[in-house]
């Protein structure tokens, strides 16, 4: 394995966590803000431009983090898995309208997981850096299939899919607040499942395979099963994220929304946020999704009018790049570790 990747995939030195009641209180506060305070105060702009894309990309990052961060299986197929989730959910909603929305969403995720399982098969023979190649192939192939085979998009003239009405138990979820509620609930449910999974025997097997495949095999960890289950779960989570991206965020998408750039975005999210850290996916998504928006607001407030639009945008990109490099030098293990150090400087 090349040293750079070995370093990237190395176990993260986790800060010692505070006592359980403190964490529980913090978590309860976070949930209260997300479920109660935000719906009371947020505007359309906050929902559509900030909160919904942030939550969905955090979920996509979480999916990749399970595969790559916890189980050490590098993948550039996140965009493809998101596409599968989106197109599968679309077809379930369209062709089986009697299914309730959560079932279609979960079904889309499971189908994406199944595709991820197939894409993950080469991981049984190919290791580390080289595993990126088959996942990259899947990324291109799946995007191409959705673009070419009209059946998946119900023969729409431009292969774009559009959300049917989002209704659950009689509630119309197509308003910004409704779509936020759908996204937040999905993200919370998946997060709880991921948290339980990571702490279970499966999660321990993943980490064992990541940290030393031969050693893991010697002590009796089912390596093949661990790898494939990591691909399955990671792709399923990304699939749910893709379905939400298509229906809760954009409304109408085509396969281009899930191109290689999206896979890279998910990978940057977890590298910057922190590999094998659940909260790292959220912190990384906040950084990657929100910093450019923040820079736009800052530069408009500070420089508005004095420079032309193109120069301001280029300045923002330079600043964004510099911030990424700065943070990674300060803390190669990601922002999650950096925040952990801030909370516990002595340790």
């Amino acid at each position: 394995m090349p040293p750079a990747l070995a370093a990237a995939l190395a176990p993260v030195r986790r800060p010692v966590l505070p006592a359980l009641p403190v964490r529980a209180a913090g978590l309860a506060l976070l949930l209260a803000v997300a479920f109660v305070a935000i719906p009371l105060t947020a505007t359309d702009y906050w929902y559509n431009a900030i909160l919904i894309p942030f939550l969905i990309m955090a979920l996509a990052g979480l999916g990749l983090n399970l595969t790559m961060g916890y189980a050490g299986q590098a993948s550039l197929g996140t965009g493809a898995f998101m596409a599968v989730g989106a197109y599968a959910t679309y077809n379930l909603l369209l062709r089986l309208p009697e299914l309730p929305l959560p079932v279609s969403l979960a079904g889309g995720g499971l189908i994406a997981g199944a595709v991820g399982l197939v894409v993950g098969l080469p991981s049984l023979r190919i290791k580390g850096f080289y595993l990126i190649a088959p996942t990259l192939a899947a990324q291109f192939l799946i995007e191409w299939v959705f673009n070419q085979v009209g059946w998946f998009s119900n023969y729409a003239s431009s292969s774009a899919i559009s959300a049917p009405r989002l209704v659950f138990l009689g509630y119309d979820l197509s308003s910004p607040a409704g779509r936020y509620a759908l996204t937040l609930t999905s993200v919370s449910v998946v997060m709880v499942l991921a948290w339980r999974l990571v702490g279970s025997q499966t999660g321990r097997n993943w980490r064992a395979v990541r940290d030393g495949e031969t050693a893991a095999a010697v002590i009796g960890v089912p390596v093949a099963r661990a790898k494939l289950s990591a691909f399955f779960v990671g792709a399923a989570v990304s699939g749910v994220a893709g379905a939400l991206w298509a229906f809760a965020y954009l409304g109408t998408v085509d396969a281009r929304s899930f191109d290689l750039d999206r896979s890279f975005q998910a990978m940057f999210i977890i590298i910057i946020g922190g590999l094998s850290s659940l909260s790292g996916s959220f912190i990384g998504a906040a950084f990657i999704v929100l910093t450019p928006i923040l820079l736009t607001h800052l530069s408009n407030a500070l420089l508005g009018g004095s420079l032309d639009g193109g120069q301001i945008s280029n300045l923002q990109r330079i600043l964004f790049g510099a911030l990424i490099i700065g943070f990674l030098i300060k803390e190669p293990n990601g922002l999650a570790a950096l925040l952990g150090r801030l909370r516990h400087p002595a340790r």
Partner: protein, 457 residues
């Protein structure tokens, strides 16, 4: 650093980070005050990123025309215009962010319409804009089905849809060979960018091939189209009579160069809307001479309105263009044309709702009642530049004609006799069918002309 100062530092950082987000709400607070006299128009631009070179001249045309209106004509019926740019980089997330940020209006003026500038952004905004009652105006791109305003009340695929583009290209070929009956037996190959945009013309070309009896050959070029030797080798084999080139970005110059290399006559290639600008042919060099393109944005600086803009804005050093060579180019003129349509829609709506900054709902009425006939276009100095348009609830396209340009090695010349019309009577029923299917899938009840009129009151 002590723990306390760390906490304080973090708090200060958090405060400074969240502060800018509260700015827009402060700006909106002024809405309650007296109505401002200025009409606000948000501009979603892409001056950076992969397509910046094609975007920059468009905003040049748009902003120069807006400046001309403010400085020479005193705005629209005395209502001055104000605008603000938002950078999208042609990316859908940034486009949605821009739309959400700007849709509330500014300084008391609501948003009359939104120019999304980007096919994926348009798709993502279709439903959001309908919910917010802000018309999306797309010229030379956008959803073809949105021509049916009964299903898409707030999407306006004005001017020249991709289906009309295909049909007009075929009709130009018919003119060249001596009539539509001579199309029978011709081989017409479409070389297209393999993307939703590129495939958009397959259905209408199929239909036209069945109607006129020409052979319809479809050849895909994968994105980005840096190497097309395989595609043009196939063309060499098939020997089509004409090639219709629907490219995007780098694909067009590479296609022209490869065609010349394989010996296909460049003057039998007709580029589509997004393969027909100076930026598309210049990189091909001298072999591009004779290349044709069909476009709703005729190039040239000799149109009346362009002369006026030149005298009042460009020659005074007030142009938004950094490179004045782009003045009168296809993209520059597309910005002018798009803005003329937007401004005339606002003017139409002002006649009904009053001379003040208008809302999206009011401008939607203006767009659906927009009439730009020859006489009005002459008044504007836009005859020959903008095709005659008549929009209605059932027809959000209005025109559906293009002009054919030919590259002489240095600039474009108009070679078609006036506007080449498309076979809209043939295409519209299919478009309506597709819109109806969309309505069924989405559970939308299409408006009728009566209900639309009632809601406008």
């Amino acid at each position: 650093m002590s723990r306390l100062s760390r906490v304080l530092g973090a708090a200060a950082l958090a405060a400074s980070l969240t502060a800018p987000f509260s700015l827009p709400s402060a700006a909106f607070a002024q809405e309650a005050g007296a109505p401002a006299a200025k009409q606000y128009i948000p501009l979603a631009t892409y001056r950076v990123g992969a397509y910046a070179s094609s975007g920059t001249p468009v905003w040049g045309g748009t902003i120069d025309y807006l400046r001309y209106l403010n400085e020479v004509e005193g705005g629209i019926n005395g209502v001055k215009l104000t605008w603000e740019e938002c950078e999208t980089e042609w990316a859908v997330e940034k486009g949605v962010e821009c739309y959400e940020r700007l849709k509330g209006g500014r300084d008391g003026s609501p948003v009359p319409l939104f120019l999304p500038h980007g096919d994926p952004i348009t798709k993502a905004l279709t439903e959001k804009s309908a919910a917010d009652k802000i018309p999306l105006l797309t010229t030379g791109y956008g959803r073809t089905e949105a021509i049916d305003g009964r299903v898409f009340p707030y999407s306006f695929t004005v001017l020249f849809s991709f289906w009309s583009e295909a049909s007009s290209a075929i009709n130009y070929i018919a003119e060249q060979v001596g009539g539509k009956d001579k199309l029978k037996g011709l081989k017409i190959a479409t070389v297209y960018h393999d993307s939703p945009y590129g495939k958009e013309t397959q259905v209408p070309l199929d239909l036209l091939a069945k109607t006129y009896g020409f052979e319809n050959i479809q050849i895909a070029v994968p994105h980005p189209g840096n190497d097309q030797s395989a595609q043009w080798a196939r063309i060499r084999q098939i020997k089509p009579d004409w090639v219709f080139l629907r490219g995007w970005g780098v694909m067009t110059p590479v296609a022209i160069k490869t065609a010349a290399k394989t010996g296909f006559p460049v003057d039998h290639i007709i580029g589509g809307i997004w393969s027909g600008s100076e930026e598309d042919v210049r990189p091909a060099g001298s072999v591009g001479k004779g290349y044709l393109a069909i476009t709703p944005f005729p190039a040239g600086a000799e149109f009346g309105i362009l002369k006026k803009i030149k005298a009042a804005i460009v020659d005074q050093g007030k142009s938004d263009l950094k490179d004045l060579k782009s003045f009168g180019s296809v993209y520059y003129n597309s910005g002018v044309i798009e803005t003329i349509i937007a401004v005339e829609a606002i003017r139409t709506a002002q006649a009904r709702f009053g001379k003040r900054p208008l809302t999206g709902e009011e401008t939607q009425w203006g767009l659906e009642h927009l009439v730009l006939d020859e006489a009005r276009l002459k008044e504007l100095g836009a005859d020959g530049l903008v095709q005659p348009l008549r929009l209605s609830i059932k027809d959000h396209e209005g025109g559906g004609a293009g002009k054919v340009l030919q590259w002489d090695g240095a600039k474009w010349n108009i070679v078609s006799k006036g506007w080449v019309k498309s076979d809209r009577e043939l295409l519209l029923p299919v478009i309506y069918e597709r819109a109806a299917a969309y309505a069924r899938e989405k559970g939308i009840t299409p408006r009728s002309e009566d209900t639309a009129e009632a809601s406008a009151k």
